[in-house]
Symmetry: C2
DNA sequence: GCAAAAGTGTTGCTCATACACCCATGG
DNA sequence: CCATGGGTGTATGAGCAACACTTTTGC
């Protein structure tokens, strides 16, 4: 079976930059490509958009197929289309970022991927094609939106401490934030509430747990 | 001549939402389509991306071909890809906005367009397909960026008055701004300078003219 | 002289920042 | 008892919002 067109068509793919926090580090989910081009190199999960498939559905599907991970929160952030970005054919990639709590992440390498794992954003391997650039733009966009939209808790488990929430900001911004001022700002947003529970079994004073309201 | 692929490929187009200010109104540049689909309806200028063409180059080229207008300032803002947005085939559209001074705008309808003209954003005609949505998203993004990036003067001639600059903000924001506070804010940005000239031949006190620095 | 927009300062308030000490727990 | 992060309040400065009158020109 083949498909014919009166003029040349580019291929369209979606790529997903999945951010999470694990062990007090900002991490990104990468797959090791099992197919050409860039076979053996690490890359963002992604792949071709079905001819009748929504772009966001394609992003979710490819992520699921290649890594076993399901996400709810996914936003389109840029479309990469330089003519020379893929050696096979012209490929235009609509890129998404996703934020995920690390406890919802059970990895399973799948189609087109011989491996899938989290990497600290401080120590990324060499990435296939222009994926280092895609990552950079994604991180920048998420960082910008952190201050406007306060969606940092999408990278945390259902309950979390102030320290953990503050660390998300610090890891993206690359600077330390004042503990007292941070707490005041977050409380003023009126987006989270105390659960009444505390984080036990830590070798210091137990911290209050919070959850997102509603 | 025809082009064959092992699996179906969508078509990729670019559309450009051109904003300008004319006669104290916010306007957008539309073409009247001369081809199916949506023949006879008004739409944003745009068209197919060449197989070896950069996306931004395609946007500039299509705009030039269809309206005679050349722009420098062009930014990608979103990619629209719902499977049903075009009746012919799957079309994915990478959308750009452009800001242009109205004095650099001499219209000439061209390929695929029987007419090209400016419309006040308060009185848009019915638009083809999902172009009303594309317009809405573009206006929202430009409005957001007005406050961050201060590129409002890209819609004004080389010299302009404080009143004219303030009107750009007011037209996007849909609210009136305080004259004194606005002037203070703009001066503090240190982006514009006085030309020394004044806007003469108006039936009120002449206003100082400013230009962008450098 | 009248209509129309140009131009000009001060005050109060809100918000962001800077900053230091004691507390509760595990080991 | 020590190491570790948890938790708390105040003072200062910057920036934003509110607000009214005089000036200059064309008609």
């Amino acid at each position: 079976m083949s498909y014919e067109y009166a003029y040349p068509h580019p291929a369209v793919t979606v790529d997903v930059v999945v951010f999470t926090i694990e062990n007090d580090e900002l991490k990104v989910l990468l797959i090791q490509r099992d197919q050409e081009p860039f076979k053996g190199q690490w890359a963002m999960p992604g792949g071709f958009v079905g001819i009748d498939e929504r772009l966001s559905d394609a992003a979710k599907r490819e992520l699921k197929e290649e890594t076993g991970v399901s996400v709810n929160f996914l936003e389109q952030f840029y479309t990469f289309g330089r003519p020379d970005r893929d050696p096979r054919e012209r490929i235009i990639t609509v890129a998404y970022y996703a934020l995920l709590p690390s406890d919802q992440l059970s990895l399973a390498a799948g189609d087109d991927a011989r491996d899938a794992q989290l990497f600290s954003t401080d120590a990324l391997p060499a990435l296939a094609g222009d994926h280092a650039n895609i990552f950079r733009v994604a991180k920048q966009r998420v960082t910008e939106r952190l201050n406007d939209d306060y969606f940092a808790f999408r990278m945390l488990p259902e309950t979390f401490t102030m320290y953990e929430l503050r660390r998300v900001y610090e890891l993206f911004l690359g600077e330390v934030l004042d503990k007292r001022n941070f707490r005041k700002k977050i409380i003023a947003l009126d987006q989270i509430e105390e659960t009444g529970e505390k984080r036990e079994s830590v070798r210091h004073r137990p911290a209050r747990l919070y959850r997102v309201q509603r």
